[in-house]
Amino acid sequence: MKKLINAPDKVVDEALAGMAAAHPDLIRIESPNIVVRKDAPRKGKVGIISGGGSGHEPMHGGFVGLGMLDAAAPGAVFTSPVPDQMLAATKAVNGGAGVLHIVKNYTGDVMNFDLASELAQGEGIEVASVVIADDVAVKDSLYTAGRRGVGGTVLAEKIVGGAAEGGADLATAKALVEKVQDNVRSMGMALTSCTVPAAGKPTFEIADDEMEIGIGIHGEPGRQRMKLASADEITEMLATPILDDGPFSKGDSVLVFVNGMGGTPLIELYVVFNKLAAILKDRGMTIGRSLVGNYITSLEMAGCSITLLKLDDELTRHWDAPVRTAALRWGI
């Protein structure tokens, strides 16, 4: 295992300490391992928190700051955090206007957030939750765990963060995330596996001429293993299910998010973006906003995901609102 770490069980703690040292103007780290916006709680502002396993950096800790998250709860690598963390985060950001939990749809995340939310409500804090489930690689069904929450989460956090900063109340904030959820779809693929530090070896073996299509963000194998294809072919394979599943039609303006899984160089993400732009043009859609880079990752996995969000004026306005976090920043 080749990693810049000291010991597998210290990675998360040391990385959080590193974040605190690097961004003292933005965040503080509190026990038990939560990343809290420097000036939280903000009186009268709805608190926005999220959380999930570590190993997806910059998500979520890198999104804590003005105009996005008020706190993040990072678990062990690829393991959802424990309720104590979400409870502490909820308390730390409660400015009296309630707290919104943004939860990615994984069994563990949902259950741990549920427990935290029960506990927080028991302590008299108003909590609302929205579950993000935007991965079209997984069939949407009542009888299964349902779709995973992936790239759409980043967009939801930015958009609701902008609205909350602007004074949206808890119900409005919750409705806004639900609106993002309704209008966003994602799909991802991997060229390589990654290695969970505590496991010490790659999660799966894969040949030099193979790839995994329909992966999530936990280094797991995907829905299908296929022969390696060209960037254009791969982009088609990801974009088509997204476009066919989602509320996208001719004339729409979309936010195009091409995300790296952690080990893929930016130059390749732009190659994908190039093809994606052509596909959207063919369908008569326009690129309203774009985001290209490593924002929701699986450690050092090589691969990418595509997320499309159908925009309207409201979503665009909150996307454009100022944000000041370690990983996303504009307007301030």
Partner: protein, 210 residues
């Protein structure tokens, strides 16, 4: 002869020991159809339990199990944290402040734990989860209660293992393995495996003379 709190603490220790020994194997199973952390998660939780055992080994069986459950909820995370946490919390709730546990009380505790897991995770039989080991184990224990406790525990352990193996060919419908669709078929479920280890640890810890 009733079961003592010490014997139940011994069960917890034994489960922890075996999880530590099986850590890599459980993680390997989770690599194939999950995210390669089940052994790591369970071991992290039960190492924490071991560390807290002096503190949580209260005088009552319920107190012990509740302490285990709380510790798991606070240290494991993932799916297994709330599920195993709930199992022990509910089982502990059923046991209450009794110190000498009868076989019937243990049966009720296991049943309460199982119901807690189902309520929390909403898995049904054949979804290919820990429920597929736990549910037949609890049923088998109930069915064999009129015989000796060791026999009932042996039946429960066999049923757990059989349930674990029975669902290996199935396609998972809950948990991360469900994301793999058809590819999950043929792989042994990590959670059903750790649950079988748990029931076996219970069997062995409550063996006469153990």
């Amino acid at each position: 002869m009733p079961i003592t709190v010490d014997q139940l603490a011994r069960f917890v220790e034994l489960f922890a020991e075996r999880l530590a020994a099986e850590k890599e194997n459980l993680t390997r199973l989770d690599s194939a159809i999950g995210d390669a952390d089940h052994g790591i998660n369970m071991d992290r939780g039960f190492q924490a339990v071991l560390g807290k055992l002096p503190e949580i080994s209260s005088d009552s069986a319920g107190g012990l199990f509740k302490g285990v459950g709380m510790t798991l909820v606070s240290t494991v995370g993932g799916a297994s944290g709330p599920l195993y946490g709930t199992f022990f919390l509910r089982a502990g709730g059923a046991l209450g402040d009794t110190t000498d546990v009868t076989a019937e009380q243990l049966a009720a505790a296991l049943r309460a734990g199982l119901e807690g897991v189902i309520q929390r995770g909403k898995a049904e039989l054949d979804d290919k989860t820990m429920v597929d080991a736990l549910s037949p184990a609890v049923d088998a224990f109930d069915r064999s209660l009129d015989g000796s406790l060791p026999n009932a525990l042996a039946a429960a352990a066999s049923a757990a293992a059989a349930g674990r193996d029975r669902v290996t060919p199935l396609v998972a419908r809950k948990g991360r393995a469900s994301y793999l669709g058809e590819r999950s078929a043929g792989h042994q479920d990590p959670g059903a495996t750790s649950t079988t280890i748990m029931i076996e640890a219970l069997r062995d810890a409550l063996q006469p003379g153990a």
